[in-house]
Structure formats: structure tokens, C-alpha cells
Amino acid sequence: MAEWGDFEPERYELREPAPYRFEADRREFLALAGGGLLLFTTGASGQRPGGQGEADLSARLHMAADGTITVFTSKVEVGQGSRTQLTQAAAEELGISPEKIRLVMADTDLVPDDGGTAGSRTTPSTVPAVRRAAAAAKKILAATAANPKATMDQLRGAIPSDVVVKPAGDWQHLGKTLPKVDSRAIVTGAHKYPADITRPGMLYGKVLRAPVYNAKLEELDKAAASKLAGVVIVHDGEFAGCTAPTSWEAKKGIEALAAGAKYSRKPHVSSKKLFEHLKATARTGSAAGRGSGPERTKGDASAAMASAANTLKASFEVAYVQHAPMEPRAAVAEWEGDKLTVWTGTQMPHRVRQQLAEAFRVPQEKVRVMVPDTGGGFGGKHTGETAIEAARLAKAAGKPVSLRWTRAEEFAWAYFRPAGLFEIQAGFDGNGKLTAWDYTNYNAGGAGLDTPYAVANSRIRFLYTDSPLREGSYRGIAATANNFARELFMDELAEAAKMDPLRFRLLNLDNPRLRAVLESAAERFRFAERWKSRKAGTGVGIACGTEKGSYIACCAEVGIREGEIEVREVTQVFECGAIQNPRNLRAQVDGCLIQGLGAALWEEAIFEDGKLMNGRFASYRVPRMSDVPKLDTHLLDRRDLTSAGAGETPIIAIAPAVAAAVHHAGYARVRSMPVRLAGA
């Protein structure tokens, strides 16, 4: 995971201190029945060693006597389609029907550690790893077809380094739509999400939350709660919670505990003062706390700025937003002696295993984390707090415990996408060519920090600050914020250079793949014409961007009526190399765009006096069916190029395109996300 930690410094959640420090073990374990292997039913080899990946073919693949192939990966399915895509990848190289393939995902006892499900890495890393293993297995199968024992023996060896996978031109399964694996279970309600896991004798848990941010539990009067039948109270340092036979009774227990809880408080910045606060607490220089973020320089930005024919300066703000996946965080924990098993919705099973081992002072081998396919993540489920909480409650109760965060908890206590402040200055010559670029990002993060436009002299930096809210990864992470500020500033520069926004971009853009999507989107939308023929109350905007090896461009038309922005029409063109599953890709690209509309127009964490003021769907507006614009999504299939991940980048162009369209409709330049309307 450090592999992308290097260039995405905003994965704040991975650097958080342990959520709880529990008192030393009181050794009150109960011997519990049950457990056992949930999924591994081939009966051949029992427990599998995790963490071997490439080195050992059998860690990746298993063949049952009936020819069923089981593929093992630590990747999770959170709706992005990895289960189906990896099934296709294995089918492709094995040359067998996808129905013969089962995937065991994210069970730390059984799977190799492929890293977490983050950074759009499944397509460029895990798909190739599965394909190499499958291709190697195919060779072995062909050579030992008559002798299953010989097959298994050979599968136990390493994957040869010279194994070749099929070129895109020969694909039979990849490149085509494979219907979603498990779709029948989804439509019948049989699909088990983390919140749906039940265990014999299982209780329901709840955790006591502080009423405000920056509060510390100092005293807890448990008398009232302990009178409630069936309620078991746990109070361990700053952690307090309870279990009961139903969530209803657990909720009553927590209400009783809350009435007897006393907190000390420290002041907490309000969202009104947020951007001043970020600027005031920015850390520069390596002496600063977490250290400073990346700073990249090219040529001499300050000299070029001083000598530029024209310069322009502006600043932009991006609010905190919440992922709000439909399934809030959930975990079921079960102890058998000192062995802990947890089912939870996390994108990082091995990391959560480590967190659990640390929290309970047990060796990692004693902890098993399983991730049932989960109801949405969007980068918001990288941490193990819910698993730890459930395990602490289960330990006290001596029974398995299911803990499901409420929506209110998910809004207030899950980590947010970082807010950001951006200060940009640029210089350009008499022809509109950029000559100097000075860019500072406070807090939002490093993904998408560099400009894709050609400029000889630049200083680009990212500064850490003291974030008042818990923050971390999000689909597309900082690329969305960086692209928002940068693309809107490009529009301002175009105006200063007296050019239309498309021409100005193309003049300053060399990257052929980004040019291709931009030109294609502009043409399909007839951007240049529509930009010239301005209609009252209506505007069009364009934006593009690249991140993690894929390319997106968007054109949007907005209409504004009675102070409401309506996004009426969007054309988007996306390119991520060779397309592996067209229908799933379209779902990701459209889903990104529509999700991105929410943050562009409405989503924003509002907090005051340590309280999140809009932590409910009633007050935190997310996209609904009626918000979907007329949509023209065009996917460029580049069979000649390596496939890149696609679940994130398509979110980065919609906000600036919409914001530009708002200005084009006759309103003031937009410099904040979410967009606020102001007179011209």
C-alpha cells in the first residue's frame, strides 16, 4: 500500500493513531463453537497461507475435482465490479467459462495480500496478477490433465516469470460485457452484506458517541443503563458501548449511558472559519509535524512570472464531503478463545487485521478478517474502527456481536474527503501560451496536483494543515479538488487571453490522450458553437483531466431558475486504455459523474461548536434520480493500450464543467465547491 502512499499524501486515514487504547486483557474469554471456513469448500487443503501472492501459484488459484477453479484475492467488491472483472480475467487466460470460476475475496486466512482496494489498482495490478497465475495454471493443466494430483503438486510451485498473457486482440472474455456475478442474489435479497451477517447467539452492539467533536469522555454513570434487562455495558478508557439481544434494546442502553456521560471539551473551528483556519495552520518546511507535502519546481517560476506579459491570480475553496455509502460501516466479531474472526466492510482487510491485532495485543495469525461484498465504499472504508469496536463488545459479551453504525454516526464520525484551499497564479504571453505557473494547495492532497498543461516554469506545492475534521481517502481523492481549482482557473485565464475555453486549453495542451477526449467531447456536444450563442439563464462549460492513467473530458449545460442550478445535459468522453467490461465501465463512468454532481452542487459538511449540523440525508443533499441530466457518455476503447482503473477518474471533470457553465449563464465566476450562485 505504501506503493501509492508515496504520491497520495492525503490518505490521512492510514496515518491515524489507533482509535482506542484498551485496558490490558482481563482474560475472560469464552470457548465458542462455530467458526470454521466460510467459503473454502473444495476440501483439498484447508487453511491457505496468506501473503504469498506472485511467489506461489496455489496461493492464487485452486482447482477442485469437478474442474471448478477458485481464485483468491484480497481485493473487495464494493460495487465497482472487481468480482466480475477478476472472474473475466481468470476465464480469459484459463480458456474456460466464467461459470466455472469462483472468487474468494478478502478473507485474510485464505487470500494473498494484493493490497487494499484503493487507488484504482485492481485493473493495473491485480487483473494482471490473476491473469499471469491463470495463464501459468493453464499450461500446467494442459500438461497434467489426466492426473489431478500432479496438477495440484505443480500448482504449488511459483509462477514462472516468463508466463505470457493473451494480447487484447485475442480476448474472448475480457473486452466484452460479462453480466455481474451474483446479480441474482442481489435482486432476490439473498446477497449477504457485512450488516447482514448473523452468527449463532449473536448480540447487537452500540457505541456511545460524544455529543460534539473534540470532546473526551471523563465520567460515566452506568447505574441507569445497568438496570436494563439483557444489556451488557462496556467501558474501557474512552470507549463505551453496550450489547443487547436486539438493536432496539442496545439503543435504549446507549441512551441511558449517554444521560450519565460527562465530557471535557476543547474548542472546535466552525465551517464558516474553515478556510482561514487551513491557511493559518499550514505547515511548511520539514520540521513541521507530519512534514510538508510534495513541492515540485520546474524552470524558474518566480522569474517567469515577473517577466510574463500577463499574469492572473485567484483562489478557490473546496468543502469537506462525506462518502455516505448506502451501507454504513458494519462489523460482526466473534472470539473463540484468543482467536478473533471479524466480518466487516472494509477496503483494506489486511490492514484491518493488523489494527485488530494491535488493539487486542494478539498475533496477526490469531485474527481473521473477512469482507463480504459491501454496500459501497468510494474510498471511505479503509479503516478498521468498526471492526475494533465490534470486537471489543464481543469480548465483553462473550458472544458474537454485530455492530452497525447508524447513518448519523456514518455522517459525523467516518472520515471526510479533505477540504482544500487553492491559490494559483499564472503568467502567459501575448499568444495565450502559459509561461509561468505557481500553485499552492492547502490540505486537499496530492493526487492530481501537477498540471497536465504544458508550462516551462512552475512551482507546485501541497501543504498540510490542522484539519478540524477527521479526513481521508475518497473516490478520486484530491484529483477532484485539484482539477476543480485548476480547470476553473484555466477558464479565467482563457477569458483574460480573450479566447474561448476550448481553444485556450488546446493551445496549452500537448498530452495526446487528454487532447483526444477533450476534442471528442467538444465535438459531440458542439461546444464551440454553443459557447458562442449565449442564451439567458443558460450556460455551457467544459473541463478535462487525467489521473491514474485515464482521461476524462466533460461538457455541461446548466439552466438556472429561481436560484436553483439544473444540470440539463452532459457529454463526457472517457478513455482508460483497453476496455475490459464495457457495461461495467459505463456504470462506473456514469456513476462517477452523477456522484460528482452532488459534491459540485450541494454536498458540504457544515459544522459549528463541534457539531455537524447537516449529518442526515434530510439536510445533506445527495444526487437523486431527478438530478440525472440528459447524458451522452462515450467510451474510447484503446485496445493498443494497457488498461487503467476507471472507478475514480471520471469524477474529476464534472464539477469544473458545471461551475464554468454557471458563469457562462451570466453569474459571477465560481470559486468554490459546492457552487454558490452570485450575481455577475
Binding site: D373, R404, D590, G591, L593, F617
Partner: protein, 157 residues
């Protein structure tokens, strides 16, 4: 206080001992192990918890269990008949109107409720009926396509 309540769930009589004020959602999930009905907000704002009560789509998180007594409750598990999927389920599968799928049970039941009373809904009626159902994967385009498909199959068949 626990009371005995008789529920008619998916055609079967089920008895539960429960606080009558408890949300039907919780009773379905925790007492009857019908976990296909999902929690998304617990306050009527997302409709992940939709079930049919006497054929009408309601939010089970906002339905105290006592008010469901004696009514026909249909959950997502009860929609298919003898292993044959309901046409709305088929349409969601065929249009692949799902990413994580967590909102799908609520979407399917809301659609089933809609088509019962409005067999040939207009685009505007579809949006009006489903606008309260949140999908954070934002798969709305394929969800609309699935509803259209289900409506078409219904009027053909």
C-alpha cells in the same frame, strides 16, 4: 415491554415477541432473519428499507411493528414465486441496475408497488415514484432503464 405480535410475512404467519414500537425493519432483519431489507438511514430518507404492506410500498424503518400486524408484508425475499423471479427482479438483472446492489431491494419493491397501480408509467411518473430511493453508487440511468423494461414486459405479457 415485549408483546406477542402476529405478522403475515411473504404469505406465512410469523409470531414475534417484541416491543410494539420497534421498527418493522428491525424485526424483519433481527427476529425473522430477513436481511434482504436494508437499513440506510432509519428515518424515512433513503427508502433502502422499502417493503410492501398490503401491496403498497412503505419505509419499514418508519413503520412501528404493531401497525403492520394483520397486514400482508412482502419483503424482497418473498417477491419471487417458486424460484421464478418477479418481472421487476428480472428487469433489474437484465438491465444490470446495480453496482453494490445495496439499494436494489428497495428499488425493486418500490417499482413493484408502482407498477401495480400504474402499469404503464410515464418517465415523469417513474422519477416521481423512485425519487425518494437513494443509490449512492448513482446507478440511476440503469435503474430507470430497468423500470421501463419491467413496465414494457408487463404490458406485453
Amino acid at each position: 415491554m415485549r408483546t406477542k405480535i402476529t405478522l403475515l410475512v411473504n404469505g406465512a404467519r410469523r409470531e414475534v415477541q417484541t416491543d410494539p414500537e420497534r421498527p418493522l425493519l428491525e424485526v424483519l432483519r433481527e427476529d425473522l432473519q430477513l436481511t434482504g431489507t436494508k437499513y440506510g438511514c432509519g428515518e424515512g430518507q433513503c427508502r433502502a428499507c422499502t417493503v410492501l404492506l398490503d401491496g403498497k410500498a412503505v419505509t419499514s424503518c418508519m413503520t412501528p411493528v404493531r401497525t403492520a400486524a394483520g397486514k400482508q408484508i412482502t419483503t424482497i425475499e418473498g417477491l419471487a414465486q417458486n424460484g421464478k423471479l418477479h418481472r421487476v427482479q428480472e428487469a433489474f438483472q437484465e438491465a444490470e441496475a446495480m453496482q453494490c446492489g445495496y439499494c436494489v431491494p428497495g428499488m425493486v419493491l418500490t417499482t413493484a408497488g408502482l407498477l401495480k397501480n400504474t402499469p404503464r408509467p410515464t418517465e415523469a411518473q417513474i422519477v416521481a415514484a423512485l425519487n425518494g430511493n437513494l443509490c449512492r453508487c448513482c446507478g440511476y440511468p440503469s435503474i430507470v432503464a430497468a423500470v421501463r423494461l419491467a413496465a414494457r414486459e408487463q404490458s406485453n405479457g
